[in-house]
Amino acid sequence: MNAFYDKDILTSLNGKRIVIDTNILAICSTDNNLITTFDHLFANCYLMLDPIVKLEFLKGAQTESLFQKKKNFLEFRGFYEMPDHQQIYKEVQENALNIARIYSHHKHPEIKLGDILIISRLMIYPNYYLLTLDKDDFTTMLFNRIGIISFEHRTLNKPSESLELNHACIIKFDSVKYNSCLKKINK
């Protein structure tokens, strides 16, 4: 499985904590070559599981058997749980309202609740990164793009045909952009 990326960017992420978005989990969980590639690429990083991402990932399972297998997948030794407790819920809720207001103010009210909650939790951890395929919701309005990793992937729809090319963005929440957006709303 080929991956195309800037080595310096990956090196700069050594020891860093990277939250994985649901779309990345979804394709890694169905392509054994890809999970091997990801394990190699991010061997020196901490791949973090957000509770909302876990929920989004598991809710797609229509059978109990698939649900259990997906749960087992999340028990990979390379994944780490994001902290989850009462104080964080309160902070996430407070942040979520502002994030929703900012997106609506920028004519993007259709952003999914799950994405709002993921951003709201990322805000609490300014040193965390997000790895996602979603370029429409996690935009440079609130994030800085740190790097892009392109990789080939065997799709589910046409498994016998050629490999599909995906581009995963590594992004970081920017509190200055956030405060600037919030200020504009409050004017």
Partner: protein, 49 residues
């Protein structure tokens, strides 16, 4: 110490908790199985839903 400073100390000292201990080899077997079952699920959905 202010409330925010206390919170930041807590965050920086939070111990990372592993999600599990399954090896890559175990995960690869699980992934192959998820792939097969998801393809079946998608076929079913295309046909009946």
């Amino acid at each position: 110490m202010t409330k925010t400073a206390k919170r930041n100390v807590r965050k920086s000292s939070e111990v990372l908790k592993k999600a599990g201990n399954r090896s890559l080899e175990e995960i690869i077997k699980i992934v192959k199985s998820i792939r097969e079952e998801t393809i079946e699920q998608n076929k079913y959905n295309e046909r009946f839903l």
